[in-house]
Amino acid sequence: MNSLINFGQYIPTGSVIHKLDPRAKLFAFLIIITSIFPAKNLLQVSLWIAVLISLVYVTKISWRIILRVARPVFFLIAFTCLFNIFYGELYRALFTSLRLFVLMIFAIMLPLTTAPLELSDGLDTLLRPLSAIGFPAHESSMMIGMALRFIPLLMQETDKIIRAQISRGARLDQGNLFQRVKAFFPVLIPLFIIIFRRADEIATAMEARGYDGGDGRTRRKPLIWKFTDTLAILIAIILAGVIFML
């Protein structure tokens, strides 16, 4: 009966990766990211691409979905690429972009395979030590989880507002950069109003259901560390180590 409500980016397929403890996934992700950043040759990046392809295969999520979710990221990558071409050589620009692309797709796999509240739980436990020095560990984790849950919804809203303003004759794709930025105000202003209203409503709804911060909150399925979780982290460390040596 635990079916998907169709919110958020989470795509449940019941794969091994989905079943991993969110803490293990976050930790493995951290290892992989820190290892891709300093990658300096094409061999290393190619190997990470091979790892990525195997990972996607194991998660049973189709590339079509992944690339669709990644679409906004392409702009960032294209921008980085252009910026690098401008200030450096072509090979370097393409290499940096490719590396960034691989990194981003790894990053996207996290919310695709982990339900938002699960991810919040994982982050919460990992960040808990920081609350000793006054860092709002639970609050920040909950915030990130909620943000992930609302991203697709806000994308839909943005699309609707763009359509409505185009219907009123807005020319969003014409003119110089300044004119284009200015032309986007009719989209941004309503979007911000909607975001604030939604945030207010969801906060009210959460309070009405007895949410009072993390203290005293229990879980229907408490996080349980399994052998596969240890194994996942070991695999990540070995991969990162081996590829780093090359």
Binding site: P116, R168, R209, R217
Partner: protein, 503 residues
């Protein structure tokens, strides 16, 4: 979570008591604009009451006060004789549950069970007990069915999982279609029969939904203007400014029947993604006549919005064709801009798309984009304002500061100000109360009589039959029926008996 014995002993104390509550949002100028003014009433345990009010009557604020989410400026709210602010947070949340209007804003988790578990998790219960609560709540709302209302069902289950004694519903069914509403109503009647106290805040009148409501309270401009039993209410409803749902349907055709085809839709098919299996529109053939009012009806997801967004080239034609005044519909370049000026499209909840600091600038946006300037522009702004019947003093106001109904009118005016010859409106009445519904329907009738072509999407068959000249009925991306209201009234009764069950 108060047990039976305790309540019996306190038999003389009502479950919920509201004692002369006043509330104002502008706390600095207290007393200038009171959202709630000296509101008093009580609710007995196990009672089901309806609080009725138009947009801006203060009902949503009242709901928040009843749920202890907002503290009143004056007066108090007592639950079983205890001031709501003095109750322990978790005790209060385990006593009063709330369901709000927009289901998307109350779901916190990505999976059904995780979401329903949210309240018991906050109560700090052990995991096996949480699971039990989740299973019971989902069984209670008959979650096995896959229907349009399923998200609102989850929200209802989410409130029930806290094991509350009282449910407050704030327009909880007003975003659902007729079938969705009936499904939720059935669950509400069942849990009421089992002893749940229910306070339902709504502006929708349906005899069936009201069948087990005991008392009705009518709120207007922050004050209770009427209260009495359910039976008494129905005799007074019209005097109180509500439209009775079962009024005789009389059709209202255009003064001059037209045979000029404005849009000819020829075998139109559409998919969102080329590799989708399902079509969003499949082989649609239809004529839209100039100077007539066409209603497009059908369930959520039947393709209505996708179809109308073809008419001003927001969606590009993939298969088939559309002819506008006999010419192939523009698909790109400057011609599309001209098309969008001639065919004005008002989206669902258009008030969410307002962005200007004044109504004047909002109304100037579309005509400016269409090339109006100088006195022509000023005249266009006034034309838009006049169409929706707003006074000139509104021009210098900030749209955000207006009421919901006024914002809707401004949003419609901001499309009309470009002087389109065709006006397409997607659910123009959604969320509005009877008085604004009347204003908008009368306005559309006037525009039609001036010779404009009107196309509205509606899920309200009653409105379609009563006001439009033709009806196009879509189901599962296909055209099912098309014709005049007189032709369709009996046919629709057989296809869609649910829509008529109130009358």
């Amino acid at each position: 979570m108060l047990n039976e014995k305790q309540t019996n002993r306190n038999n003389d104390i009502p479950f919920l008591e509201v004692k002369s509550i006043s509330f104002s949002y502008d706390a600095i100028n207290t007393g200038r604009t009171l959202t709630l003014k000296d509101v008093s009433f009580f609710v007995n345990k196990g009672e089901r009451i309806a609080i009725l009010g138009h947009n801006g009557s203060g009902k949503s604020t009242l709901v928040k006060i009843l749920g202890g989410l907002v503290e009143p400026d004056k007066g108090e709210c007592l639950v079983n004789g205890v001031k709501i602010q003095d109750l322990d947070f978790h005790e209060l949340r385990g006593t009063i549950g709330m369901v709000f209007q927009d289901p998307e804003n109350q779901i916190v988790a990505a999976m059904v069970e995780d979401d329903v578990a949210f309240a018991p998790e906050n109560q700090g219960l052990p995991s096996n007990e949480i699971q039990e609560r989740v299973d019971n709540a989902l069984r209670r709302v008959n979650m096995s069915h896959k229907q349009d209302s399923s998200v609102q069902r989850i929200a209802l289950a989410g409130a029930l999982a806290a094991k509350v004694d009282c449910l407050i519903l704030d327009e909880a069914t007003s975003m659902l279609d007729t079938q969705g509403r009936k499904d939720i109503e059935k669950v509400l009647r069942e849990i009421h029969a089992e002893g749940m106290t229910i306070i339902q805040v709504t502006h929708i009148l349906e005899r069936e939904s009201f069948s087990d409501i005991q008392r009705v309270i009518v709120l207007s401009q922050g004050e209770i203007i009427w209260h009495g039993t359910n039976k008494e209410f129905w005799d007074k409803a019209e005097d109180l400014g509500f439209d009775l749902p079962d009024k005789e349907i009389t059709t209202n055709p255009a003064p001059v029947p037209s045979s000029n085809v404005k849009f000819k839709i020829d075998n139109l098919s559409f998919k969102y993604n080329p590799d989708d299996i399902n079509y969003a529109l499949r082989n649609i053939d239809a004529n839209i006549y100039a100077g007539q009012w066409l209603s497009i009806i059908g369930k959520t997801g039947s393709g209505k919005s996708t179809l109308v967004q073809h008419l001003n080239a927001l969606y590009k034609i993939q298969e088939g064709n559309i002819y506008f005044d006999g010419q192939e519909l523009a698909q790109k370049g400057e011609e599309v801009h001209t098309l969008r000026q001639r065919v004005g499209l008002v989206f669902q909840h258009p008030e969410d798309q307002l962005f200007s600091p004044t109504v004047r600038e909002e109304l100037a946006f579309a005509p400016k984009n269409a090339g109006f300037s100088g006195s022509e522009l000023d005249e266009a702004i006034l034309y838009g304002l006049e169409c929706v019947g707003l006074d000139k003093i509104f021009l210098e106001r900030n749209p955000i500061a207006l009421s919901g109904g006024e914002r809707r009118l401004v949003a419609i005016a901001s499309v009309l100000s470009a002087k389109p010859e065709c006006i397409v409106l997607d659910e123009p009445l959604a969320g509005l109360d009877a008085s604004y519904e009347r204003i908008i329907l009368a306005m559309l009738g006037r525009l039609r009589d001036e010779g404009k072509t009107i196309i509205t999407i509606t899920h309200d068959l009653r409105v379609a039959l009563k006001f439009s000249d033709r009806i196009l009925f879509l189901m599962d991306s296909k055209k099912v029926k098309e014709g005049t209201p007189d032709e369709l009234i009996n046919k629709l009764r057989t296809i869609y008996p649910d829509w008529f069950s109130d009358s």
